[in-house]
């Protein structure tokens, strides 16, 4: 045993020194992140030029030069085009979006009845937000209300025809209302259907397995437009004479079946990731097939593939825009329909309308993808613990 000569050992911690001046401040940051080497500098210059080319134009078009209010095309047309703006003017025509906002949201839903979709939207948000925030308690009740009670209530309220509410045909629906109801029902139908298909694909029964494989691979191999064509042109011929489906319902079936095939593949990935021990453990406890899947396997598998599920939702939400091709008026369809309004025909109308539609779609999709990343991170830490 040797005694330490304490004079050579430091007993208190050395204070952290601040970084040398060359590594501090905005100058160092720029050196490190923008001009680290000659190639880097060139890239930075290219980047700056790119941003300088696009950004000022975009801002001046969308905000500075934009026309925010107005009642008809003259507000958004130049003098040469018969309007009030100076020649060479280029700005967004938000007045058009403003004037048609009701249509963009509800389509031709009767104006006196528009409180109904608005009420549904308020309830939707009121039930969705607590469901999404992990800290809020009573998730079970909330989920039952959201997935069980809300759709029935929304269906009664939107379609009407009972309790003294006037009936509103689905052919009058339009705009964001159609986009959202198509996606919501599509999500609610495609997830359970996708789970069933995924289980079927991994089933030990050869015929069930084959049927599921054929369905999934066929649907995934063809474009949604073909499915929608089939729903809109062929389905009527498949049914007995005189029986016809509502057009909205037909699109709904097409979109749901399409999404279900993609969902099935995502869920299958989750099922495959569950270790075999879990299946065997469930078997050794004497659980039946559905008990095994429902209580042991699926809860773990679905948790694993939440990002994939949300990505499928995002894809489906974007895909609903395709129904405008089979002349249904979702958000994009309504926006495009209004381009032919003579009262608003200017060179800026189409661009402004499309940018607005893009912005709405972007908002929803970006929100969903960010939420999925948040969930992923949350569930990730729970595993590590």
């Amino acid at each position: 045993m040797q005694e330490h000569d304490l004079s050579f050992v430091r007993v208190e911690m050395a204070l952290a020194q601040s970084a040398p001046p060359s590594e501090r401040g905005p100058g160092a940051w720029i050196r490190k992140n923008l001009i680290a080497s000659a190639g880097d500098t060139i890239l930075t210059i290219i980047g700056i030029v790119l941003v300088a080319m696009i950004l000022p134009q975009l801002i001046s078009w969308a905000f500075i030069n934009a026309q925010w209010t107005g009642t008809d095309r003259t507000f958004c047309a130049t003098v040469a085009q018969g309007g009030v703006q100076p020649d060479g003017w280029s700005g967004a025509c938000w007045a058009f979006v403003n004037a048609k906002f009701g249509q963009f949201m509800f389509g031709r839903y009767p104006i006196d009845e528009r409180w109904r979709p608005i009420l549904v939207a308020i309830l939707f948000v009121a039930l969705l937000v607590p469901l999404l925030i992990p800290k809020v308690p009573r998730k079970g009740l909330n989920a039952i209300l959201f997935f069980g009670a809300l759709p029935i209530f929304a269906f009664i309220l939107l379609v009407g025809g009972v309790f003294g509410l006037p009936h509103v045909e689905t052919s009058l629906w339009g705009g964001l209302l159609v986009t959202l109801s198509l996606s919501f029902v599509g999500i609610a139908v495609s997830l359970p259907l996708g789970i069933v298909l995924a289980l079927g694909r991994r089933s030990r029964m050869p015929i069930v397995k084959m049927l599921c494989v054929i369905f999934i691979e066929t649907v995934r191999g063809i474009p949604l437009i073909t499915v929608l064509f089939m729903a809109s042109v062929m389905l009527p011929l498949f049914l007995p004479a005189g029986v016809s489906f509502d057009k909205f319902l037909r699109a709904l079936i097409g979109v749901s079946l399409f999404a279900a095939a993609y969902m099935a593949e995502v869920v299958r990935g989750g099922l495959q990731a569950i270790p075999k021990g879990q299946y065997e453990g469930a078997d050794s406890l004497g659980l039946g097939y559905w008990q095994k899947m429902g209580l042991i396997v699926l809860p773990q598998a679905l948790k694993l593939v939440i990002p994939g599920i949300v990505n499928t939702f995002i894809g489906m939400f974007k895909d609903t825009s395709l129904v405008s091709i089979i002349s249904m008026f979702d958000l994009l369809g309504v926006v495009k329909q209004n381009f032919s309004d003579a009262n608003w025909a200017t060179p800026q109308t189409a661009r402004s309308g499309l940018v607005f539609a893009a912005f709405v779609f972007w908002l929803f999709c970006f929100g969903m993808s960010r939420y999925s990343m948040f969930t992923e991170r949350r569930l990730d830490t729970s595993y590590k613990r």
Partner: protein, 395 residues
């Protein structure tokens, strides 16, 4: 021992109904019966409907005269051609736009994916904004943007923008000169093929030599010289047989030359730019999936950063990248059916027109489904082969 055997021979516990095998067979039988009944019901309904409405069925209509024109056609087609040929024209157009889109989307996607991991803050941010914007917008909207963008920015045909080599750009598309191959120009083609073959051979030899001796050989420059030089030589030897057809101004449009229509241009650009955002994410995930130790080890061996990326990181990243890349290629091919929205005559659009002119809904939708399905299966098959070659070879 004996008692165990007796146990085994005993009928399994419980009754016959609880036997999972019996249950499985029973359940499958039910599924088949239901399915057959459903199919029979649908077929019966369809036959009833068709006979009631006196709609002829069968594929005989494909031999009928189409009577309509198609704007973009890679093979000879006129209004006198058959419906079948019109569908083939559409199919070829789908192939063209899908192939062009896949190449461009991969190119842009790789640049963006690498850009997102750049040390340069500005480049990183630009790539991120691009990816986040395009990933969250429906492809149909992107197509409309390009189409209305292309149409509104470009000038009318009489004020065409002149570009070098006698090419023009206007609202009606992009025009450039079309080579006319004169007598003896087959020599040039032969020389080109010869050049490619020789370049391949040189590359192989160089690789073998490097493996054996470690000496490198400037493969790139030699190959370039061979592939460009040989045809040029043949061109000179055969007496300069090549002439060009220049686009010229006529009453309405430019005529002559080679024309790329704005419909194709916007569909192709939209699909490329849209899919590139997804490919960028895949590439980023792939590169991040290669462990940092690989890069550091390569650096320790003295490789330069460019070589590290090319020789060490990307080959490993490709293994992660290829499967999701395949599904993006398939998505792009399927998304090309959105051509119908801007009037590019792809398979969906021409088949749709045929459907409309003949009223043969079932046959036409069937054709569309079968062709897209075949295309998808073919693409996955090719990518599976590529994947197998790329897969880790354990020694």
């Amino acid at each position: 021992m004996a008692s165990q055997e007796i146990l085994r021979e005993e009928p399994s516990r419980g009754s016959f109904i609880n036997d999972p095998k019996v249950r499985g067979i029973f359940f499958q039988a039910v599924v088949i019966i239901v399915l057959v009944a459903l199919v029979w019901w649908i077929v019966q309904n369809t036959i009833d409907n068709l006979t009631r409405l006196r709609i002829a069925s069968g594929f005989g209509f494909l031999r009928g005269r189409a009577g309509f024109d198609i704007s973009d056609s890679a093979i000879a087609y006129s209004s006198d051609s058959t419906y079948g040929r019109a569908i083939v024209v559409g199919f070829i157009n789908t192939l063209i736009v899908a192939a062009a889109g896949i190449v461009t989307a991969t190119f842009i996607g790789f640049i963006l994916g690498i850009g997102r991991l750049s040390h340069n803050w500005l480049i990183r941010k630009i790539c991120m904004v691009y990816v986040e914007v395009f990933r969250n917008i429906p492809p149909l909207l992107v197509i409309f943007f390009w189409y209305s963008g292309v149409l509104s920015v470009l000038p009318p045909p009489r004020e065409s923008i002149n570009l070098p080599f006698g090419s023009f750009l206007n609202q009606r598309g992009f025009y450039f000169l079309r080579p006319i191959w004169g007598e003896g120009s087959w020599l040039i083609l032969v020389a080109l093929l010869l050049g490619i073959a020789m370049a391949w051979f040189v590359a192989r030899k160089a690789h073998q030599r490097q493996m054996a001796t470690g000496q490198q050989f400037p493969v790139f420059w030699t190959s370039t010289a061979l592939i460009i030089g040989l045809p040029l030589l043949a061109y000179a030897l055969s007496g300069f047989p090549l002439s060009f057809d220049y686009p010229k101004q006529s009453t309405f449009n430019l005529t002559g030359g080679f024309q790329v229509k704005p419909e194709f241009l916007s569909l192709y650009l939209a699909l490329s730019f849209y899919t590139a955002a997804f490919i960028a994410e895949i590439v980023r995930a792939g590169i991040m999936g290669v462990s940092k130790g690989q890069t550091e080890a390569a650096g320790a061996l003295g490789l330069r950063p460019g070589s590290i990326l090319r020789l060490v990181v990307i080959p490993q990243a490709m293994r992660i990248v290829i499967p999701p890349l395949t599904s993006q290629y398939l998505n792009l091919t399927k998304n090309s059916s959105l051509a119908i929205a801007i009037g590019y005559p792809d398979l969906t659009a021409t088949t749709g027109t045929v459907l409309n002119q003949t009223g043969q809904a079932i046959e036409c939708v069937l054709i569309m489904m079968v062709v897209y399905l075949a295309l998808s299966l073919l693409t996955s098959a090719i990518m599976n082969v590529v994947n197998a070659r790329m897969a880790l070879v354990e020694r």
